[in-house]
């Protein structure tokens, strides 16, 4: 009995430790959410649609992509593909959590994986290198980020009405700036340069030629294939 209670203590402790560890990063998550909320209000996204995205998708960058394409909402398949392509990294993020979940039940895996975002994943991976933690640490961080993110989006949504010309303040450029920053954060070494340039070039040309949203998919696939062609040789 004592063993059981000390185990539950340890478990609930990990939940709160995870939540606390993610609180500092919450400031930028809040701001990022507020920007999304503002753009949602401008694009005519309803509160219930924003809420559904926050609860069921919970992946900021892909939510930005969906909202950015909102004016071409009839391009259903293009939007789904673009959003899922940007979320493909979650497959690798999931794969990297293998050792954290090695003693977990299938139920825990199904339950905890939904609230995995870039931030709580990064905090958890970093922490797991010098401490023993359970998946509840990851989940606590997820709940913390989900709360902050949601509040941020609603506050942004509400206050968007007070800013009558958002483009004057370049708020429409905010997520372009965030994506650019995230992209530079992924830079590894010189081998990235040619694939990255290919992606940018193909995206720019296909946007000029066709408009719409497919240029994102074309650029990404072209750039990644160039990457496979160049890097792949070393692995064969």
């Amino acid at each position: 009995m004592r063993i059981y209670s000390s185990m539950t203590d340890k478990l609930s402790n990990d939940f709160f430790r995870g939540a606390r560890a993610n609180a500092p990063i919450g400031i930028s998550v809040f701001a990022y959410g507020a920007v999304l909320g503002m753009i949602c209000a401008q694009k005519g996204v309803e509160i219930y649609q924003l809420t559904l995205m926050n609860v069921f998708i919970f992946a900021g960058t892909s939510q930005f992509i969906i909202v950015d394409m909102w004016s071409n909402i009839t391009e259903v398949l293009t939007i789904i593909i673009a959003a899922l392509l940007i979320n493909l990294r979650y497959f690798l993020i999931g794969a990297s959590l293998n050792s954290l979940f090695k003693n977990s039940s299938l139920k825990d895996k199904f339950l905890f994986m939904h609230l995995v975002a870039d931030e709580n994943w990064a905090v958890t991976i970093e922490r797991s290198k010098h401490e023993t933690i359970t998946p509840l640490f990851l989940f606590g961080g997820g709940i913390c980020l989900f709360s902050i993110w949601s509040i941020g989006t609603y506050i942004g949504y509400i206050f968007a009405g007070f800013i009558n010309d958002p483009s004057k303040y370049a708020l429409d450029f905010a997520f372009i700036a965030i994506f650019t920053a995230l992209c530079f954060n992924l830079y590894q070494n010189k081998t990235n340069l040619i694939p990255w340039t290919s992606a940018a070039t193909v995206a720019y040309i296909s946007e000029s030629l066709f408009g719409g949203n497919l240029y994102i998919v074309f650029g990404a696939i072209a750039g990644s294939l160039v990457g496979v062609f160049l890097d792949g040789k070393r692995y064969v």
């Binding site: 400031i27 930028s28 649609q49 559904l52 069921f56 998708i57 992946a59 969906i66 909402i73 009839t74 939007i79 899922l84 392509l85 979320n87 493909l88 979650y90 497959f91 993020i93 999931g94 794969a95 990297s96 959590l97 293998n98 979940f101 895996k109 994986m113 939904h114 995995v116 004057k168 370049a170 708020l171 450029f173 700036a177 965030i178 650019t180 920053a181 992209c183 530079f184 954060n185 992924l186 830079y187 694939p195 992606a199 940018a200 193909v202 995206a203 720019y204 240029y215 994102i216 074309f218 650029g219 990404a220 750039g223 990644s224 990457g227 496979v228 890097d231 792949g232 692995y235 064969v236």
Partner: protein, 105 residues
């Protein structure tokens, strides 16, 4: 209630739930299938390249549409990320650069 929905609202729901199911599927299948993918060299490289090339494809036309201000913003973001690794600060720098250019030039 379904009757009152416009076509666009139905499209939005299809998009939201497809992306939700797909994203959850990616998160979970990555965990469940981990260990099996690391041997697949080429697939792994392709997947590794997708996030940055996708982000770059997304931002390039938008940055070039801003002209010189967009390119300056991009360079400042690159410097800020290199020095501080702070995404939030990079966002502020990018937005302020473009806002100044739109209001004063």
């Amino acid at each position: 209630m379904v009757k009152d929905m416009s076509n666009n609202e139905v499209y939005a729901l299809i998009i939201i739930f497809s992306v939700a199911i797909g994203t959850y599927g990616l998160r979970l299948s990555g965990l469940l299938l981990s260990g099996k993918i690391s041997d697949e060299g080429r697939i792994r490289i392709f997947l590794d390249y997708l996030p940055p090339t996708l982000l770059l494809s997304f931002v390039t036309p938008a940055i070039l549409k801003e002209g010189l201000a967009g390119i300056i913003a991009m360079i400042l973001i690159a410097i800020c990320m290199y020095k501080t690794k702070n995404i939030f600060m990079s966002m502020i720098i990018g937005v302020v650069t473009v806002a100044i250019s739109r209001n004063f030039f």
